[in-house]
C-alpha cells in the first residue's frame, strides 16, 4: 500500500515540491500541509522540508516552532510517527525541541551549495533502516547554518545511544563530530542537513538519496499497517 506523507509548508519554505516529487517517484503519496493547520490529516509520516521558514528571521527555525502545525508534528512524533527534518527542517526540529542541539553558521561564514560524501552511521532510524552502516552516500548540501553543535553531555548521549545518523566524510561546515544528521531516542525523528530529495535522480548527478527516502516510506507504510 501507498504511504501518505505530510509535507509541512511555512511561508518561506521552498523545497516542498522537490520532496513531494522525489517521494512520489518512489510510489509514495504526499500532501502539502500549510503551517496554520492544526492537524496532519491522518498522514503516516511528516517531512519538514528545506527553505527559509518565516524568512529565517530572528534565527533559523525560531519563529517556525510557534506555527500551529508544529503542535500536530510534536504529537505525531510523541506517538512514534516518523518525522524527518531536512536542512531548514532540521533547524526547525531543534528549535522545537524535537531534537537536541542547534545549527550555527558555517565555519567560513559562507553559504555552501555542493555535493558532499556522507557516511551512514546507524540503521536504527526511520531514515536509514534500509541502509547498512558504513555506506557512503553522495548528497547535496545547501545551507548557511549547518554547523551542528550541542553540549558534551548531549554529544556523549548521542554517541552512546547510536543516534548519530549521518557523518560528513570531509566536514564542510565545522559541525561537531562531523555530524550531518541525528535522531531522537526512539529513532522516529531524524534531522539532517543534506538534501536526499536532491539526490534522487542520476540525471541530476546522484541517486544516493533514494535509499533514505525509501526507508522513510517503508517506515510510513509500517505505521499505516499498524494503525
Amino acid at each position: 500500500m501507498s504511504a501518505r506523507v505530510a509535507i509541512v509548508v511555512f511561508p518561506g519554505t521552498n523545497c516542498e515540491l522537490d520532496v513531494a516529487h522525489s517521494l512520489e517517484q518512489l510510489g509514495g503519496s504526499t500532501e502539502l500541509v500549510f503551517h496554520t493547520a492544526t492537524s496532519l490529516g491522518g498522514a503516516d509520516a511528516v517531512v519538514v522540508p528545506g527553505g527559509f521558514a518565516h524568512g529565517d528571521y530572528l534565527r533559523t527555525g525560531a519563529l517556525a516552532r510557534f506555527s500551529p502545525v508544529m503542535t500536530a508534528v510534536a504529537e505525531h512524533a510523541a506517538a512514534g510517527g516518523p518525522v524527518v527534518g531536512i536542512c531548514n527542517g532540521f533547524q526547525v526540529l531543534t528549535e522545537a525541541d524535537l531534537l537536541p542541539g542547534a545549527l550555527q553558521k558555517n565555519v567560513g561564514l559562507k553559504f555552501l551549495c555542493k555535493t558532499v560524501e556522507c557516511r551512514v552511521e546507524t540503521s536504527a532510524s526511520v531514515l536509514t533502516s534500509g541502509v547498512a552502516p558504513g555506506t557512503v552516500l553522495r548528497l547535496p548540501i545547501n545551507h548557511f547554518e549547518g554547523n551542528y553543535i550541542c553540549d558534551q553531555v548531549t554529544l556523549d548521549q548521542l554517541r552512546a545511544e547510536d543516534r548519530i545518523v549521518l557523518r560528513y566524510v570531509d566536514n564542510p561546515n565545522g559541525a561537531l563530530d562531523d555530524i550531518a544528521g541525528i535522531a531522537n531516542e526512539r529513532g522516529n525523528v531524524v534531522g539532517l542537513m543534506p538534501h536526499p530529495e536532491r539526490a534522487s535522480d542520476a540525471l541530476l548527478g546522484s541517486s544516493d538519496g533514494v535509499v533514505l527516502l525509501q526507508s522513510l516510506l517503508d517506515a510510513a507504510v509500517a505505521r499505516s499497517e499498524a494503525a
Partner: protein
C-alpha cells in the same frame, strides 16, 4: 526656487519641460513634473537607444511575447512556455554592493512572475575591476553575498553566469541579472488594466522613502567622487516578502482572480499604474491616501516615485476583491485598493478621495506621526495627465562618431610586440600557468558554491559548464542557457564584437546540444551624450542583429544601461546576452568539458593569428590594441549544427567551447574536468604561442574515441567544418609539443586557488 531650477534638478531639459507644457496645455504641478522626470529618465524611457533597438530581429513562430513587456515569452512545446528577462543593477551595486545586487535579483524575479511564470532560474553575468584592488574585492564579495542572500532565500536557483575582471569596470561594476520562468501557456498574462471600474490593488511591502528617484538619480547620470552620498537612493531588499508575493501572485493568477499584474520597479507606482492603463487603452485614478506608508510625513511626490521593493499592482474585478484579499491574507501579504480603472484615458492622482466615492476598502492607518488625510467627494486631482504621455517619452537621435583613437587602436596588433619575446621554441609553460590564474579564467566555484543551484530538481548541468541545462519535468525536453559578453572585443571593433558575443553564447548552447530559440540582451555602455559611445552602441546593435539574423535567433527582450563611467572615462562597450536553447530529447546528461583517457582531442574550427583583445595579450602583457577575431557567421552556423549533432548522438566523450585564453586554456580546463592530461601537436603553420593563445572564434574542442574518429573527421569535412586531431588524452601532464609541459596538478592548483587566494580565503602557495 524657480520652476526651471526644479525641472533641471530632476534631470529634465528645458526642451523636455516645453514638451510637458505642450502636452498639458499648462505648467505641470510639482507631482506631475516629478513623474515626468522619472518616466522620461534615460533608464525608464530608452530615449537615446530606442531608434537603434528597432534594428533587432524580434520575430519567430515560437515567440509569444517580444520586447516591451515585463519579460519575453517563447513557446517550448507541450503547453509550456518560458518567460525570460535580463536587467542591469550596475549603479546601485557600485554604491552599495550587497543591496544593489540583492534588489537587482528581486526586481528581475518580479518582472518574470508578473507574466504568470514561476521563476525557476537565475544567471548572473558580473564584471569588476582588477581583483588586486581592495575596493574591487569589497564590491565582488558584496555583490556575490547579495545574490546569494537574496536568491537562495527567495527560492530561485542561480544556475550559471560569468565573472569577468577588467580595469575599465574598476569604479563601475556591471551587475546584470537574468531570470527565466516557466508557465503553462494559458496562464500567460500581460500587464493590462482593462475594464472601467476594475480596481488597482497594491500588493506587498509598504511604501517608504527608499529608492526615490533611483532610476533617474543613479541610473541616468555618471558617477563622480562622493557617490556614497547617493546611498539613500539604493533600495533594501526583503526576500521573504518577495517569496510570499510570488506564491500569492501565482495563486491569484491560477484562480483567474486578476486581469493583469505589474511589478513596481523603476519609477514605482507612477510607472506601474500609468503603464498598465496605457497598455489597456484605459485611464487610471490613484489615491495616495490609500497607499500604506512606512514613514510619517511622506508627500505625494515621494509616494508616487518611491522605489520600495517587493510591491506589485494587480488589476482586479470588484467581484473578486474579497477572494484576492483572502488569498493575500493566507500568504501574509498586504493588499490595499489604491486605484481604479477609468475610461478617461487620463492618469489622475488624488489625495483622500476614494472613501467618499465608495471604492471598497478603507484608508490605511497612517504611520505614527501622521494624521489621516481628510476624505472628500469633490477633490481636485493633484496630477491629471494623458495616460500614455508618461510612457511615450522623448526619442533622441544622438550624434554618432567613432573615437579618434579607433584607427590607432586597431593598428596596434599585439603580436608585433610579443613576437620578439616569444620566438620559436620559447617555453610557454609559465604563460599557461599565469593565464589559468587570471581571475577571469580561474575557477569560479568560490562564487557559485554560495548560490543554491539545484532547487526544483531541474539542474542537469549547473554553474561551471559551457551552458546550464535544465530539464523540463514531464517532457523529454530540456532548456540550455548561456550568458556571455566580451567588452574588449567590442572596444576594438564594436560591430564585430557585437557579432562575437552572440556567436559565443549560441556556441555554448550548442555545446550541450541545444538549439537557440531566443536571446535577451543587457547593453552596458558609457555616457550616451558622448558621440563615441553612441557610435559604439549603434555598431554593437548592428553586429548583434547580423548574428541573430544569421543564426535565426529572435531578440525577445533587453535592457539598456548607459552612463557606466567613472571619473570621466566610459567603460568598454559591453553587451551581455542571454541565449535560451531547446534540447529536444534529453535522456541522460550531455557530455561535459573533460578529457577521457585515450580519446582523441579534436579541434573543430579554424585557428588564426588573432590575438587582439585576447586574455593573453591584453591581461598578461598589457597589449590591448589590435582587431578582434573574425566573426564568420556562415562558419558559425555550420559549426553549431555539427557540434549539436555530435552532442545529441553522444558520439563525443567530452566537449568544450574554445574562447578566453585560447585552445591551451580550453584543453587545460578539459583536463581538470576529466582528471587526465594530454599530449597535443600544435599547427606548424602558426607560431606556437599564437596557436596556443589566439582567441579565434567559431572553435570547439571535442574528445572522440579512436573507433568513431575517422567517421567524425569525415563528417566534419562534409559539414564544411575544419577538424584537426590534436593528439591523445593520457597521463598527468599538459603537453603542447615544443611549447608547454606542466604537471596537471600544478595547473589545476593555479586555476582553482587564484580567486580564493586573492580574497585571502586560501594562503598563497609558497
Amino acid at each position: 526656487m524657480s520652476a526651471e531650477a526644479i525641472h533641471r534638478q530632476l534631470g529634465l531639459t528645458d526642451d523636455e519641460l516645453g514638451d510637458i507644457d505642450g502636452l498639458l496645455g499648462r505648467s505641470p504641478s510639482e507631482l506631475e513634473l516629478a513623474m515626468y522626470a522619472v518616466m522620461w529618465s534615460e533608464h525608464c524611457s530608452y530615449k537615446s537607444s530606442k531608434v537603434h533597438l528597432r534594428r533587432f530581429p524580434t520575430e519567430a513562430p515560437w515567440v509569444l511575447v517580444g520586447p516591451g513587456e515585463g519579460a519575453g515569452v517563447i513557446d517550448v512545446g507541450d503547453g509550456l512556455a518560458v518567460a525570460v528577462r535580463i536587467e542591469s543593477h550596475n549603479h546601485p551595486s557600485a554604491v552599495e554592493p550587497y543591496q544593489g545586487a540583492a534588489t537587482g535579483v528581486g526586481g528581475i524575479i518580479r518582472d518574470v512572475f508578473s507574466m504568470g511564470a514561476r521563476p525557476i532560474a537565475l544567471m548572473d553575468p558580473l564584471r569588476f575591476g582588477p581583483l588586486d584592488d581592495a575596493h574591487t574585492r569589497y564590491l565582488f564579495e558584496g555583490v556575490v553575498s547579495g545574490i546569494s542572500g537574496y536568491g537562495n532565500s527567495v527560492g530561485v536557483p542561480t544556475v550559471g553566469g560569468e565573472v569577468v575582471f577588467d580595469d575599465c569596470y574598476r569604479d563601475n561594476p556591471l551587475v546584470n541579472v537574468f531570470c527565466l520562468g516557466l508557465l503553462p501557456k494559458e496562464r500567460l498574462v500581460l500587464a493590462l488594466a482593462e475594464g472601467e471600474g476594475n480596481l488597482a490593488v497594491l500588493l506587498g511591502s509598504s511604501t517608504g522613502r527608499d529608492g526615490i528617484g533611483g532610476a533617474s538619480v543613479l541610473a541616468s547620470a555618471g558617477f563622480e567622487e562622493g557617490s556614497e552620498a547617493k546611498r539613500p537612493s539604493v533600495q533594501v531588499g526583503d526576500p521573504f516578502e518577495e517569496k510570499r508575493l510570488i506564491e500569492a501572485c501565482l495563486a491569484l493568477l491560477d484562480a483567474n482572480l486578476a486581469v493583469g499584474v505589474q511589478d513596481l520597479g523603476a519609477a514605482g507606482l507612477s510607472c506601474a499604474a500609468s503603464e498598465t492603463a496605457a497598455k489597456g487603452g484605459a485611464g487610471m485614478d490613484v489615491d495616495v491616501a490609500r497607499v500604506v506608508k512606512r514613514e510619517p510625513g511622506m508627500n505625494p511626490v515621494e509616494v508616487m516615485t518611491s522605489e520600495s521593493q517587493e510591491r506589485m499592482l494587480a488589476i482586479v474585478e470588484p467581484r473578486h476583491l474579497d477572494e484576492v484579499l483572502a488569498l493575500c491574507e493566507k500568504w501574509e501579504i498586504r493588499a490595499t485598493v489604491a486605484g481604479r480603472v477609468t475610461d478617461t484615458g487620463r492618469f489622475r492622482v488624488y489625495e483622500g478621495l476614494f472613501d467618499a466615492i465608495g471604492v471598497a476598502g478603507s484608508n490605511p492607518t497612517p504611520p505614527p506621526g501622521d494624521t489621516a488625510p481628510e476624505v472628500s467627494s469633490d477633490r481636485e486631482p493633484i496630477a491629471d495627465l494623458p495616460c500614455d504621455s508618461l510612457g511615450d517619452g522623448p526619442v533622441y537621435t544622438r550624434p554618432l562618431e567613432p573615437p579618434a583613437s579607433q584607427a590607432g587602436l586597431q593598428a596596434a596588433d599585439p603580436w608585433a610586440e610579443l613576437e620578439s619575446r616569444f620566438s620559436a621554441g620559447a617555453d610557454l609553460s609559465d604563460e599557461l600557468l599565469a593565464l589559468l590564474a587570471t581571475p577571469t579564467i580561474a575557477d569560479k566555484s568560490w562564487v557559485w558554491s554560495q548560490y543554491d543551484h539545484q532547487l526544483f530538481l531541474n539542474t542537469v548541468v549547473g554553474p561551471g559548464g559551457d551552458a546550464a541545462v535544465l530539464r523540463l519535468k514531464g517532457t523529454p525536453r530540456a532548456l540550455a542557457l548561456a550568458t556571455d559578453g566580451k567588452g574588449r572585443f567590442c572596444r576594438l571593433d564594436p560591430r564585430t564584437g557585437g557579432r562575437l558575443v552572440v556567436l559565443e553564447a549560441a556556441r555554448n548552447v550548442a555545446c550541450v546540444g541545444g538549439d537557440p530559440r531566443a536571446l535577451v540582451n543587457c547593453l552596458n555602455f558609457g555616457n550616451p551624450e558622448h558621440p563615441e559611445v553612441m557610435w559604439q552602441f549603434q555598431e554593437v546593435v548592428e553586429g548583434m542583429s547580423e548574428a541573430c539574423e544569421a543564426l535565426g535567433i529572435p531578440v525577445i527582450g533587453g535592457n539598456v544601461s548607459f552612463y557606466n563611467e567613472s571619473r570621466g572615462a566610459d567603460i568598454d562597450p559591453t553587451p551581455v546576452v542571454g541565449v535560451v536553447g531547446l534540447i529536444d530529447d534529453l535522456r541522460d546528461a550531455p557530455p561535459t568539458p573533460r578529457t577521457v583517457e585515450r580519446e582523441h582531442m579534436v579541434l573543430l574550427g579554424e585557428t588564426r593569428a588573432e590575438l587582439g583583445g585576447s586574455e593573453w595579450a591584453s591581461v598578461l602583457h598589457g597589449l590591448d590594441g589590435g582587431i578582434p577575431p573574425e566573426a564568420d557567421l556562415d562558419a558559425a552556423t555550420r559549426l553549431h549544427a555539427f557540434v549539436r549533432d555530435l552532442v545529441t548522438e553522444r558520439s563525443v566523450g567530452g566537449v568544450h567551447d574554445c574562447s578566453d585564453g585560447g585552445v591551451a586554456v580550453a584543453l587545460a580546463e578539459m583536463a581538470f574536468g576529466g582528471e587526465v592530461g594530454f599530449q597535443v601537436t600544435p599547427d606548424v603553420a602558426l607560431p606556437a604561442a599564437v596557436w596556443s593563445f589566439s582567441e579565434s572564434a567559431n572553435r570547439v574542442l571535442v574528445s572522440v574515441d579512436a573507433r568513431p574518429l575517422p567517421q567524425v573527421l569525415k563528417r566534419a569535412e562534409d559539414a564544411g567544418v575544419l577538424a584537426v586531431d590534436l593528439g591523445v588524452a593520457d597521463g598527468d601532464r599538459l603537453i603542447v609539443e615544443g611549447a608547454i609541459d606542466v604537471p596537471l596538478a600544478d595547473a589545476e592548483r593555479a586555476w582553482r586557488d587564484a580567486i580564493p587566494t586573492a580574497l585571502g580565503a586560501v594562503a598563497p602557495a609558497s
